[in-house]
């Protein structure tokens, strides 16, 4: 009988943690590969002092400012169009919803680079724009690289954003629409005060990702002479042929911008998750 009692007695025994051999091996292999990569960069013909020299050069910093400016300008256009077209898409007016569907189809379908070139070269087919008789401008004066890039990137972003917003609107429970109507709210007030704030919780994480994506997409605007980071880095390396060094400088700034925005995203998501328990903002 005592034997049996001993058998179930475990408090005096020592626990030997299990060894995760697979993990150790995987980690070892990956570290080795990483070390090889670092060594390649150190031994490679990279003049690190050039990287340091141009990291804070005026032209690069101006490029950074322009990149940030374009990111927010294009996103502002994108979100505005996205919300408008999402509401059009779910509206009961068949003309509006068809137009919204067509918008998404066209501008999500065509490559961003192509859309940039289209807007920038608009003057070739429309030498003048405006309302005849009222005002008119020469298209080449209006379609500066900034305006062309903002329109092209913003409008194609709007096509993606409208799908995100529509998903957000549909995610709100039908009971919320009814409760809002039952206290006498009209369509717009209901959307603004009740539906959109709740849809935000669903809309924001993907919009945050797209904002971060936009930081990098703005580099496409270098092909239409918009002087953002990559464009300015290219101008420098055309002159001094330090191609890789300047690309590394540009990478550093893109990464920095993305990092800052990721942190901001975390805080914004936390704000819109208020009132929702057990749903921590991704962080």
């Amino acid at each position: 009988m005592t034997d049996e009692r001993d058998m179930y007695q475990t408090s005096h025994l020592r626990i030997v943690p299990r060894r995760h051999w697979g993990r150790w091996i995987a980690a070892g292999v990956v570290c080795l590969l990483l070390a090889a990569l670092v060594r390649a960069f150190i031994n490679g013909k990279i003049e690190w002092n050039y990287v340091g020299q141009f990291l804070f050069s005026q032209s690069i910093l101006e490029g950074l400012v322009n990149t940030i400016l374009m990111t927010f300008a294009a996103m502002a256009v994108g979100i505005t169009l996205g919300v408008i077209f999402a509401i059009m898409r779910i509206s009961e007016n068949p003309v509006l919803s068809t137009i919204a569907t067509g918008y998404v189809w066209i501008f999500r379908g065509a490559p961003a680079l192509l859309q940039l070139l289209l807007w920038f070269n608009l003057a070739l087919v429309f030498p003048k724009i405006g309302i005849p008789g009222l005002f008119e401008w020469r298209t080449v004066d209006v379609m500066t690289p900034f305006v062309a890039a903002m329109l092209a990137l913003g409008i194609q972003q709007g096509a993606y954003t409208s799908e995100v917003v529509r998903g957000g609107l549909l995610s709100v429970d039908a009971g919320q629409y009814e409760a809002a109507r039952s206290i006498g709210m009209g369509q717009l007030l209901m959307l603004r005060r009740i539906i959109l704030p709740q849809a935000m919780r669903v809309i924001l994480p993907p919009i945050g990702n797209e904002l971060i994506g936009m930081v990098k997409t703005t580099s496409l605007a270098s092909v239409i002479q918009y002087s953002e980071i990559l464009h300015n880095a290219q101008i420098i390396y055309y002159a001094n042929t330090r191609v890789l060094e300047l690309l590394l400088v540009a990478s550093f700034w893109y990464l920095s911008a993305v990092t800052v925005l990721s942190i901001g995203q975390m805080y914004v998501e936390r704000y819109f998750a208020r009132g929702i328990q057990r749903l921590k903002a991704a962080g």
Binding site: D173, A179, S182, I183
Partner: protein, 255 residues
């Protein structure tokens, strides 16, 4: 007898290939508490939703306080109302839902002040004072700044009642306000409704709580298959109904 507040005549509602309301008629007087009972799928919710214009009716008409719902009369023509006019008409009626439908991103207090401030254009301070008074009245003075997710079902439903009252409606519609609640939370909501009834509020209550109907209702209407089969004084309908199916339903519920 007081004047008629709600007059529904031959209200008909069809969903694709299915008649949910079949010429339902009902009068509700000012200050009256009317309970609607009936088996599941008989059209009780649909009838309430028609009174609150959450559903468009296919036949018949409803008046609230002498005002025809959904149409403007001009000579011998009825013009369909615009959304904004419908929204304005809806303000006379409050609604309490089975699943509460509180706004989850707003606190209890904000849930109550939302309509008064943004729909009625009340002063923020005045709306908040009124809301605090209402929340205290439904026994939630200490929960004003809680979000719905931090409240029990019974507390949420009491906030929903305060939210409806915040709009100062002439009539409140309740659609099975206690059937989503745990049994021990039912009475706290019924008590609030009883208090509201005693204060003279006109109420239409869809419910399976026969005790509430017996104790609080002035009239009871029995619905089946989209029709109002019997309506009359609560005591009469609940104890000696004329309609055989009504009698069978009441017997079944009491088992």
């Amino acid at each position: 007898m007081s004047e008629i507040l709600v007059k529904a005549i031959d209200v008909t509602k069809r969903f694709t290939g299915f008649t949910a309301l079949d010429r339902a008629s009902l009068d509700i007087r000012k200050g009256e508490v009317c309970c609607i009972i009936g088996p599941s799928g008989s059209g009780k919710s649909t009838f309430l939703r028609c009174i609150n214009m959450l559903e468009r009716i296919d036949g018949g008409a409803i008046w609230i306080g002498g005002e025809l719902l959904g149409y403007r009369r001009d000579g011998d023509r009825l013009y369909e109302m615009r959304d904004s006019e419908i929204a304005r008409q809806r303000r006379r009626t409050g609604m309490v839902f089975q699943r509460f439908n509180l706004f989850p991103h707003l606190t209890a207090l904000q849930n109550v002040t939302e309509g008064p401030i943004h729909v009625l254009g009340e002063e923020r301070k005045a709306a908040a004072d009124h809301a605090r008074e209402l929340l205290a009245r439904v026994g939630l003075a200490d929960k004003m700044n809680h979000y719905p997710s931090e409240l029990s079902g019974g507390q949420q439903q009491r906030v929903a009642i305060a939210r409806a009252m915040g709009m100062r409606p002439e009539l409140i519609l309740f659609d099975e306000p206690t059937s989503a609640l745990d049994p021990e939370l039912v009475s706290e909501v019924l008590d609030v409704m009883k208090d509201l009834a005693e204060s003279g509020m006109t109420m239409v209550v869809v419910t399976h709580e026969m005790g509430f109907a017996r104790g609080v209702a002035d009239t009871v209407a029995f619905m089946e298959a989209g029709r109002i089969e019997e309506v009359g004084p609560a005591k009469k309908v609940l104890s000696e109904p004329d309609n055989a199916r009504c009698a069978a339903f009441i017997r079944a519920v009491h088992k």
